[in-house]
Subunit: 384 residues, 2 copies
Amino acid sequence: MDQPMNEKTTAELEHLRDLIDGVDQQLLLLLRKRLDLVAQVGVVKHGAGVPIYAPHREASMLAKRRDEAAKLGISPQLIEDVLRRLMRESYLNEKEVGFKQVKPDSGHIVIVGGAGKLGALFSQMLSLSGYQVKSLDKDDWQQAKALFSGAAMVIVSVPISLTCALIRRELSQLPADCILTDLTSVKAEPLRAMLDAHSGPVLGLHPMFGPDVGSFAKQVVVVCHGRQQDKYQWFLDQIAIWGARIEITDAKNHDEAMQLVQAMRHFSSFVYGLNLFKNNADIANLLRFSSPIYRLELAMVGRLFAQAPELYADIILAQPGNVQLMSDYLQHYQHALETLKRGDRDEFIRQFSQVSTWFGDYAPAFARESGMMLESVNDMKPRE
Amino acid sequence: MDQPMNEKTTAELEHLRDLIDGVDQQLLLLLRKRLDLVAQVGVVKHGAGVPIYAPHREASMLAKRRDEAAKLGISPQLIEDVLRRLMRESYLNEKEVGFKQVKPDSGHIVIVGGAGKLGALFSQMLSLSGYQVKSLDKDDWQQAKALFSGAAMVIVSVPISLTCALIRRELSQLPADCILTDLTSVKAEPLRAMLDAHSGPVLGLHPMFGPDVGSFAKQVVVVCHGRQQDKYQWFLDQIAIWGARIEITDAKNHDEAMQLVQAMRHFSSFVYGLNLFKNNADIANLLRFSSPIYRLELAMVGRLFAQAPELYADIILAQPGNVQLMSDYLQHYQHALETLKRGDRDEFIRQFSQVSTWFGDYAPAFARESGMMLESVNDMKPRE
């Protein structure tokens, strides 16, 4: 395709590219300056103990920038996207400053399973906030008594299949005023086990993100209150200072939502991958012909198989109701497939429309949202 | 959570925010300048007929900027992400300049189904490249003879269920040197129909993107050669100038890949949505507790239901092999579910590991890629 260009064209392009290079140098310096200024805001906020993520201030700043962009004939979405990306970078950099310590006079904090990925993340964030953190891992149980003595809080972050038995067996002798909390992805049973084992403050948490996030900013932490909230409220305030959004609910509602949000989706992704394997699909060929939407989907499924199978086995097997939900799903799949086998286009369309009606305003909203995501996926396309 | 700040803190924050506002003003001006310079590059390229999307130049420019960023202590990924977003904007703006016309002396082009979304997109791109485009829609068949007379190319862009019959019935009397091409998402049967109906140049195309893309840049167009490539090569060159990547394959390979890339995924998304509906899931509640990954998934499923059911019915019913693949999928789901029903954790882990091994290096690569996508999704999170 490349056509030979004449000398004039080549010279013109070279000149313009030099000018663009110059603009990019200025852009880099400006980014450096902005990151530094936001870091200084971080230091001031750190001193005052104000959360780094301020949704309202962020929204009003973005609205102003969008207006200013429009006046310059720049797409408002462009400046919003660039600034959001810059804000992400600034959140990541917050870790260098550290975080305000909400309860400076507390004793030390023990993380049971502190060597695991999620335990290590909480350990890091607590240390960055000035707390003394000790880890208790599977070979450390002979030191448990010494570690627990004088502890302000014990955080349980062990595989879901071990959590309840471990709580009941090992955590019944904690100091009376010690906070007992866990990070398990189901909440009813661990909460029950903690309330049974310990008579002091009890708190159930579920961080809705993987341990590889660079920052807590904008991430969700689900909170199920256990007992003596006044004793552990400082820890929730601390998490909010890290930038997370706290969502309070009861364990039953949480666990029901997780059947769909976690168990069903993990299992569906697993079967999707299994199906590609059984078909011996040619991934390279599929990628060649991928639309952005399919590439994204393939990446989301492939992602699962880069991780530990035990983690997924345990999440899927954690609630007896999961298998029932999956059986229901199987039945819906089967019915829909029978419609196709009969070639009953009208019935398929009828069902489709029924679901569209049920989604209501969410369908166009999701279309808009995913449209923006897909554009962003297309931007990132690797060079061919 | 918001704590009262003392006056000194407030004043310090105000001062820093003023400085950040100043930086953002400079940033906007710089973005305006860069967009203008790239637009000038577009004008020069337009004159010379060079494709707007130059992957190698883009890659080397990004590599240089990454190095320069690192020297300033800026994350290389930050500048890459910002520049990719800027490049997207520049691709969108290319439309204002128009595109080099590869074949200026051609006759007019007829789009059968030019009022549909995809037909309208091709109509727009062709017009922006200087071609005379005429649309033939379902009420225009009495003018067909006049429209086809002297046409350089006829592009068929009608619903998949009508394509083959329409080609055989209506397109057998085209001028002998007229190019006949289609945009259908299956290729074997339409190509056969075009070759049977027309004795001149025949070309099968499948644009792997929705009609709502702002630009062809980086998008994939699958090409299945029909007959007399030398007569229609100019149109492929034209598509490349619009920025798309051309992927040449035979119709059988294309159609097999589409069973997985399109039919299976549309049907799975359909059943996913159907299942939420049958469970009467509380979408607002699910969103409250969503991880970025689940929010993305929900948006991708919900997206489907904002669109026309007929389109999906026809894609899914287009190939008889699709139903067989879905039956296989159902069986794999059933077997995997039986493993869970038995509570056979070890067998689940064994199968999971087998699929992981099969994915090989793709699994960690997909994990990295989707990790970046998820960070970008998290950036876009709407304000609470």
